[in-house]
Subunit: 267 residues, 3 copies
């Protein structure tokens, strides 16, 4: 499957550190097998080993890419253990990644009528000749993605399966009249992304608290707060984010993942 | 307009943090609309919200790219406020970005005979269906750039205007026989880029002072100073830079933006 | 020479800082001359001025890329001095970079039957019109790579030479029954890459010591150690690496380049 120009599109996401050659060499493996592949980086340097954060990004961002895209997703702290490698097709997209939950939210979240098809990749059949036990992104997942990019049907990569490791992304929960969630992570600006979805706060005058500290109402933009002031808003992922205008909420509020976030209706 | 191979070329520059998916998802939006687009990163992870620094880079670097390139420039601390979004054409290039001064120097600096054409983008007409108030790079500017890449005339994106927010890049000034300027920023090596243009120091034996500290003459290269020694030279932007050989001038000289830099003719 | 699709492939590796426009503008120079070039990043932001580390990466990673690739390698602390600029062809690849040892290991390491051909680039003939003395990556090496990508024979770039600056990558040495080497660098995860090649430790029960501290046997993967525990394994470069599961060995072991690493056969 290719994009409308016939160019096979490979979208990469990983926790590989930004100044290392790990992503680059995966691209070399793909291009060696699919010379006309187009390679696009969704994100790298994600928090090391944080499968849930990468899984959230993959689920939320995939649908901005054109139909036919193959996502090569590598956040793989269990590399070298018995964990399986998956290839999957869901809606207009295909995915390759470790079976550690990374692909589960995007596969479960595709709003297509048909359920995803998943195979456990036959690692020995797919892997490159030179190989290591510590870099399956290069040795197994990149060549698996290359096969899909070259037009191989999903089922030629391995055996159908239907029990991928599941990962439930944190979501807000009701506590009385409140919605309660947590800080998931911060972005590079220091904005705090929370587990509270903006949609549940529609229709009402909600105020946000971080570990009990009142941050005022959910605002539409930074524009209405002063420089250096903290506020809550619905971020680009559709979730409540806590930000400091012209600054870092992570530093200013000394925030860490897991901190309690609460939305209360103003009286 | 496309490059000589007929491939539409999109050059991206932003302050989006390097380990976040913001740049990647903008690329997805462009590719979803223009499947044969070629995407090239000029720079990301620029100092957050520092419009002047990004504007300087855009002005100085644009002309190294091929005619026909569309620049998608996003340093947008005012996102969600009433600030306009601009699309512009100047010489062989087109540009999309927020109306906060970011595009002003490159538009003013194009040495073409004809003045730039600028439109205020009709945000509601251009924006994607799913949208946020906090990420106009993805929701408005990327689809606007995609329209230009797909061949839409500039004027189809909005209404002509001629009053973009202006931004005057700091330049050196005469004080008696000296030229006086300031540290603008440091690069990732720790080299200090100043507002003094190398061309004004031609023909003479100039010595550089940083906050009164003599750094010796302007040298051609690092080659003539010892490891660990500070020196001034004309950098790749054509401006006076202060560098420490095999080290970081920012750390070694404890330098910060705004520090006074003075060039004096040696007696 | 081009890849199998006829697209000229340029692979870039450098120590240019990740948030600066240096890499981006080199790409602009290449695309201005070779509009159909495909640009792929092997790695950037490598340790500044560390020629040996970049040379190791280039040697180990090049062969993962398709035949015909042109590598543009810029770790160039001697820019502006009399050091030469090289272009070379070895096996199915071509290379452009400074003559400071950066290209030597990959040229020496190519397992092709014929020795590499090397030219000293005629800088004045190749360089762009606008130029600086501090950024030969943009002004000299990018246009030299562009010429190769456009099909120019190697010898048209300068004069044949056979005395490039040599660089011997550190390797392990025997000391009695042990192999002794050193920490070369750490990657972004904090894993320590050493000069000991995994192949010399085949067939035996080797234990690793870092500055005399016993880290236990060489293991196949992280899987068999507890979270937070240090271990040694054969990394993706085929060398002994020291890693801490779910953590940074660099921080946990307070490790720096040059530290002594020893492999002893278990009794």
């Amino acid at each position: 499957m290719t994009d409308r120009t016939g160019r096979p599109l490979c979208v990469l996401i990983s926790d590989f550190p930004l100044a290392d050659p790990y992503v680059g060499v995966m691209k070399g493996v793909v291009l060696s097998r699919v010379p006309d592949a187009v390679l696009v980086d969704l994100a790298h340097g994600l928090p090391p080993g944080n499968v849930a954060w990468a899984a959230l990004q993959l689920r939320e961002q995939a649908s901005y890419f054109p139909p036919g895209a193959v996502f090569l997703a590598v956040v793989d702290p269990g590399v070298g253990t018995a964990r399986r490698v998956l290839a999957a097709e869901s809606g207009p997209y295909r995915f390759v990644g470790p079976d550690n939950g990374l692909l589960h939210p995007v596969l479960a979240g595709q709003a297509s009528g048909t359920p995803p098809r998943i195979v456990a990749v036959d690692v020995e059949a797919v892997r490159i000749e030179r190989r290591s036990e510590t870099f399956h992104g290069r040795d197994v997942m990149a060549p698996a993605a290359a096969r899909l990019l070259a037009g191989a049907p999903l089922e030629t990569l391995g055996s159908r399966m239907d029990d991928p490791v599941e990962l439930r992304l944190p979501a807000g929960r009701r506590e009385g009249g409140s919605w309660v969630g947590e800080v998931l992570a911060s972005d590079g600006y220091g904005n705090l992304v929370t587990s509270l979805e903006g949609s549940v706060l529609a229709g009402g005058d909600w105020r946000i608290r971080l570990e009990g500290r009142d941050l005022g109402p959910v605002r539409a933009t930074f524009g209405s707060v002063a420089s250096g002031e903290a506020t809550a808003l619905v971020g680009s992922l559709g979730r409540i984010e806590i930000a400091v205008r012209d600054g870092s909420a992570r530093e200013r509020l000394d925030a860490t993942p897991g901190m309690r976030v609460e939305a209360r209706l103003a009286p």
